[in-house]
């Protein structure tokens, strides 16, 4: 156990340190004053994010159980940044909350699980990290203890994730039975494609698809998103989804790499179903959070296009799109949270006349929605473009056609929100939403991210070089 250990596991160790600091602040009654405590936590989160950029090395630990590489370090930086932005944008809400230390302890434990999940090189580690990443998030969904919707959302979340991970575990046990090992690298050699292994793969795929809310397994998503407190919804929609898409990509490329002929078909079918059903269900919704839930389901389908292309270009476009998705989604959820916690309104129709008194917030929302829809000046366009070209390089033109036609459908419900805010008249004025400076910082960073990542081609090239270096 030398210095190497500390350098390789730096992101996880920093997070563990953060959790301990918060716990001791709670025990020593330093968290009595909510304002001071939040300043402390947010400063630490910013420092944690900055520290993620230094001293990254590639290597393995614990005889292959823990793997880290440059692309994984970058993925962890995206998660760190997203977590920081969500924490900043939730500042106004957290100020009025009781039990803020518990909120951050649960949140950061979940993030610790996600980091281990990204770095896992063994199915034991994979399973433990996945549970650590999901159980605290279910508890967080119940954070508004007095709101019945919140506990209903938490119930649906814990039940569906427990069921999904149980199914996945059954698949893992069959994989263990056919190969006799749990290590990713060793298992990859021993995967032969026998019918028992195909069954095991389907179970494992179902488990991950539940977490990613791909279509046959998406039914929990909208309810959980609607009921949870808005910052928790943002964490579920952005951070959790980002983690699982990275993990899905790495397991498909390592453990199930020899299985390509099988999983390619499964993934293609679920892309078509996910994009189509996600978009068409989003059209029907009236609640803002439910629209965003179904739109996030559809976005997952687009991300899978990049995964399914099995090329360096595909992998880097997944990372690039996820970066943009973090920026645009956090901006949208920031505005949705401000509206919900100050006026109690959460329907698309309630947004009528929003532009009159809240000009800047309307523009923030519009730019972020354009980015999700993939309209050119924003980065979302380039994200979708790279994903689609990587899919085209592989040549699945039916899937591509479905994906492109669905982008037109998605414009309908994104623009409906914009239309409600800017064009629709209402009898009584929408009150002015007050925004505190810290929340403004978060929103400005997000919008700058949405616009600047699209303007400079540097970012994509940088991400691509990460993958080229590790091959």
């Amino acid at each position: 156990m030398d210095m190497n250990f500390f350098i390789l596991m730096k992101p996880e160790l920093l997070l563990t340190g953060l959790i301990f600091i918060i716990m001791f602040a709670k025990i020593a009654n330093l968290a009595e004053n909510n304002g001071r405590f939040l300043i402390l936590v947010n400063t630490l989160l910013v420092l944690n994010f900055v520290a993620g950029f230094f001293m990254n090395q590639e290597g393995t630990l614990f005889s292959g159980m823990y793997i880290t590489s440059d692309s994984m370090a970058f993925e962890k930086n995206i998660l760190n940044g997203g977590m920081m932005l969500i924490s900043l944008m939730a500042y106004d809400w957290m100020m009025r909350c009781k039990n803020t230390p518990e909120y951050y302890m649960l949140l950061l434990s979940a993030q610790l699980g996600m980091f281990f999940l990204i770095s896992s090189g063994n199915f034991l580690m994979f399973y433990l990290a996945m549970e650590l990443a999901t159980i605290p998030l279910a508890a967080l969904s119940n954070f508004d203890l007095d709101r019945p919707k919140s506990s209903e959302a938490a119930f649906k979340s814990i039940m569906s994730s427990a069921f999904a991970s149980a199914i996945m575990l059954f698949g893992l046990s069959l994989m263990y039975g056919t190969t006799g090992t749990l290590d990713f690298a060793e298992m990859q050699m021993l995967v032969t494609g026998s019918s028992l292994q195909v069954l095991a793969f389907i179970f494992v795929f179902a488990g991950i698809a539940f977490k990613l809310s791909l279509v046959p397994f998406h039914l929990w998503t909208a309810d959980v998103y609607e009921g949870s407190p808005v910052p928790v919804t943002a964490t579920l929609a952005v951070i959790s989804k980002a983690t699982f898409i990275f993990v899905f990509m790495s397991t498909m490329f390592t453990v199930f790499a020899n299985f390509f002929m099988v999983w390619d078909k499964v993934v293609m079918i679920s892309i078509i179903a996910t994009i189509t059903i996600g978009n068409f269900m989003a059209v029907r919704q009236t609640n803002l959070k439910r629209v965003l839930a179904f739109s996030s389901i559809a976005q997952m389908g687009y991300l899978l296009l990049g995964v399914a292309s099995t090329s360096v270009q595909g992998a880097s476009s997944v990372l690039y799109f996820m970066l943009i998705y973090v920026f645009s989604s956090v901006a949208i959820f920031a505005v949705v949270g401000l509206i919900f916690y100050q006026t109690g309104k959460e329907d698309v129709a309630d947004l009528r006349g929003f532009y009159k008194n809240n000009k800047l917030l309307s523009w923030v929302m519009a730019v972020a929605l354009f980015s999700l829809a993939g309209i050119p000046p924003t980065a979302g366009f380039f994200g979708k473009y790279f994903l689609l070209t990587s899919g085209a390089a592989k040549g699945d033109y039916i899937v591509l056609t479905v994906a492109i036609l669905n982008m037109i459908v998605s414009l309908y419900y994104y623009l409906r929100i914009v239309k409600a805010m800017f064009i629709d008249k209402s009898e009584n004025d929408f009150e002015r939403i007050s925004v505190s400076p810290i929340v403004t910082v978060s929103i400005v960073v997000c919008i700058a991210g949405v616009l600047l990542t699209g303007m400079s081609g540097e970012v994509y090239e940088q991400i691509k070089s990460l993958f080229l270096a590790s091959n």
């Binding site: 119940n142 709101r147 209903e152 959302a153 119930f155 039940m159 893992l172 046990s173 263990y176 609607e226």
Partner: protein, 104 residues
């Protein structure tokens, strides 16, 4: 009568697995749904132990995995029951059919 072999264990675990899935899909009491999930997890445990004992007797991966699964199942049940208690305080019911404030 032949000796009890791997096949017997696998039949038991597969039956447990599907009983668990059936229970999760049909039972409407929240605690019973939780118990069904525990059945599925136990089916996985039997699988791991049986594979380890019969196919790979010179290593302990499966046994260790089982220990971790038992611990995780306890943690999951603790969080789930806490959530169910809170739901009961808000609703005075632990029937899954009553948790219907949000609909498609």
């Amino acid at each position: 009568m032949s000796d009890i072999g791997l096949g017997h264990f696998l039949i038991v675990s597969t039956m447990l697995f599907f009983i668990g899935i059936y229970g999760f899909m049909t039972r409407r009491n929240m605690i019973t749904m939780l118990m069904s999930v525990e059945l599925i997890l136990n089916a996985c445990n039997i699988n791991f132990i049986a594979f380890n004992k019969f196919l790979f007797p010179n290593q302990l991966d499966g046994v260790f995995f089982t220990l971790f699964v038992i611990a995780i199942a306890a943690a999951e049940a603790a969080v789930a029951i806490a959530i169910i208690i809170n739901l009961y305080r808000n609703r005075k019911s632990i029937d899954a059919e009553d948790a219907d404030m949000m609909r498609l």
